[in-house]
Amino acid sequence: MRYVFKTTYDRDIDLHQHGWSRAKVAVLAGLMIVLPFLVGEYYLAEATNTLIWALAGMGLMIAVGHTGQVSLGHAAFLAIGAYANSALMNVGVPFLISFPLAGLITGLFGAVIAIPAVRMSGIYLAIATLAVFVIVEEMVILLEPITGGVGGIMAPSIQFFGISFDRYGALENFYWLCLAIVILVTWGYANLMRSPTGRSFLAVRDSEVSARALGINVTRTKSLAFGLSTGVTGLAGALMGHYIGFYNYELFSIFISINLLLVVTIGGLGFIQGAFLGAILITAVPQVIAILRDGLNANFGINLGSIPGLDTMIFAAILILFIIFEPAGLYGRWLKIRTWFDIFPLARRDMFRRQKSYLKTERMK
């Protein structure tokens, strides 16, 4: 067991409570930075994809995990971010400006639609976001001059300081760019969660009446959270557009929304780390399935390739198993394992038993 002796309050306020955890993060970041020298083109592209999904996952995590607002429509915000960024770049705005602007536009859009939406309780909000998703999807098709309509558009090439960050021309650079953005956003997110704003999110998530009684403006807090959530998702959308290169509205399908929800739930709701674990899972599973499929085919002559939709089916099964057996997600499971080792051999079997609570009626919200 590790004891942390606190000398001042600063210890608690700091992001890392002890040097060990700071060192771990530093090693991880270092490893990520040198990754292009360690792996080939194919896996570097996959790693980039994972980073982009982690970014989108962090976006959704702010809403679902930290403010308790379930959104089934976050693919719409990916789309808005992607199209806003490419539209700005196409009229000559450099990436370094268009990119944050795309996040800002998406965030403002999210915050504005949140103002009526946040008055609704859980399930209604989820359905409203689904409606917003469909509306945005149709708008994308309608706004052909910006979005290329059904035909789609080509993401402009990124270039600044005379260096190309093109996904196909200079993958390493694009990877580093994504990594830098993800690190920055993670840092900002972690800061948020140790400050009054983040605490007000958690307050609203756990008890709205109490939050009000403490002087928290619930509507404003929820729209702020939803705006930040959609803003970060918009940033991810902009990167996703560049990553895919040529895309139309189908890139941002309802299934992407669902996959994002999967990222945050399986990763671990309420933990920033969960977004990363979830993103790794969602990008790695198709790879693993492909490898298994080839292996089965080569060694046993079983051809799974003939079963369409198997990937989604496996995702669905994983999701169901997690919801039933480990609602705290991968990160929650990891925390339990770590606690178990920390206090070994003192762990009791009932220690991690889930507390059964009974559904309280939503109609009495």
Partner: protein, 291 residues
């Protein structure tokens, strides 16, 4: 005249949305949970009926096929509650949202594996039969759809309003803990309701299939049915039907007089407007939480 024709077709479509919405509302009334797989249950029900009834499959008579399909889907709904949904009893509401979304994928995979992804046509006795009069053409299928929907809504409403089990189900939804303590068999009622909603979904699926080909993705219609349920107010059966009818009628009318994309958006725009003006839907049941 053309307008009237649009309305009739729209009402028939709206009935199907309404029926799927009824399925949501039933489960919501009983457990305050929302089954996002309701549309996929409709799809599966249609395929099961097709598998039993079509001549190139099992080839049983249509009526028997529908009844058997309803029975099978009752068992599926009941089983889903017993095996999966019950496991997360007491978890936050959105756990069920995610769980049922995943269930929907499973249903789609099952249907796709058995019946493939190319559209199939369910053989029905109503196919191609039309009534003409006064410049209107009304399909028999449309009339059957409207009739069956009205009868089913009425029956379900009576079930919740008058029968002991129906009343107990509603009581259970208000406060599961309290209902549990006073001896309401909360679990058993939930299974029953899920089974019933599977049967209702099958009726919706068969009626849907009378109007065109089906494939494993028709379950996405569930999203529209959601809009219907929300417009009506999640807890109200007549509200669900009304919401379905509103959407059913608006769609073709908007499609006639506005660009196609706008027509596709119209159900959701209406839903958002209703939610903004009356956050609990037309037949609102939301009250303040007591502290």
């Amino acid at each position: 005249m053309e307008f009237l024709q649009l309305i009739i077709g729209g009402l028939a479509n709206g009935c199907i949305y309404g029926l799927v919405a009824l399925g949501f509302v039933m489960i919501y009334k009983a457990s305050e949970g929302v089954n996002f797989a309701q549309g996929d249950m409709m799809m599966l029900g249609a395929f099961v009926a097709l598998g039993i009834g079509n001549t190139d499959q099992m080839g049983l008579p249509f009526g028997i096929a529908v009844i058997l399909a309803m029975a099978i889907m009752f068992a599926v709904g009941w089983g889903v509650e017993r095996v999966v949904v019950r496991q997360i009893f007491g978890q936050p509401q959105f756990a069920l949202v995610i769980l049922t979304i995943a269930m929907g994928f499973v249903f789609r995979f099952v249907a796709g594996s058995i019946w493939g992804y190319t559209p199939l046509v369910l053989e029905t006795p109503f196919a191609g039969q039309n009534f003409r009069g006064g410049g209107l053409v009304v399909g028999l299928a449309d009339l059957v759809t409207i009739g069956v929907t009205l009868a089913l809504t009425l029956a379900l409403w009576a079930f919740f309003a008058f029968t002991k089990i129906g009343l107990a189900a509603q009581a259970a939804s208000q406060n599961q803990m309290a209902a549990y303590i006073v001896g309401v068999p909360v679990m058993r009622i939930n299974s029953l309701i899920w089974g019933l909603s599977g049967a209702v979904a099958t009726v919706a699926g068969v009626l849907y299939a009378t109007k065109g080909a089906i494939d494993p993705n028709i379950g996405l219609l569930g999203i529209k049915a959601f809009a219907a349920a929300v417009i009506g107010g999640m807890g109200s059966l007549p509200g669900a039907l009304l919401g379905g009818l509103i959407i059913g009628v608006i769609e073709p009318v908007a499609g006639r007089y506005a660009p196609g994309e706008l027509a596709k958006m119209s159900p959701y725009i209406i839903m958002l407007v209703v939610l903004v003006l009356r956050p609990g839907g037309l037949f609102s049941q939301i009250q303040m939480k007591k502290v």
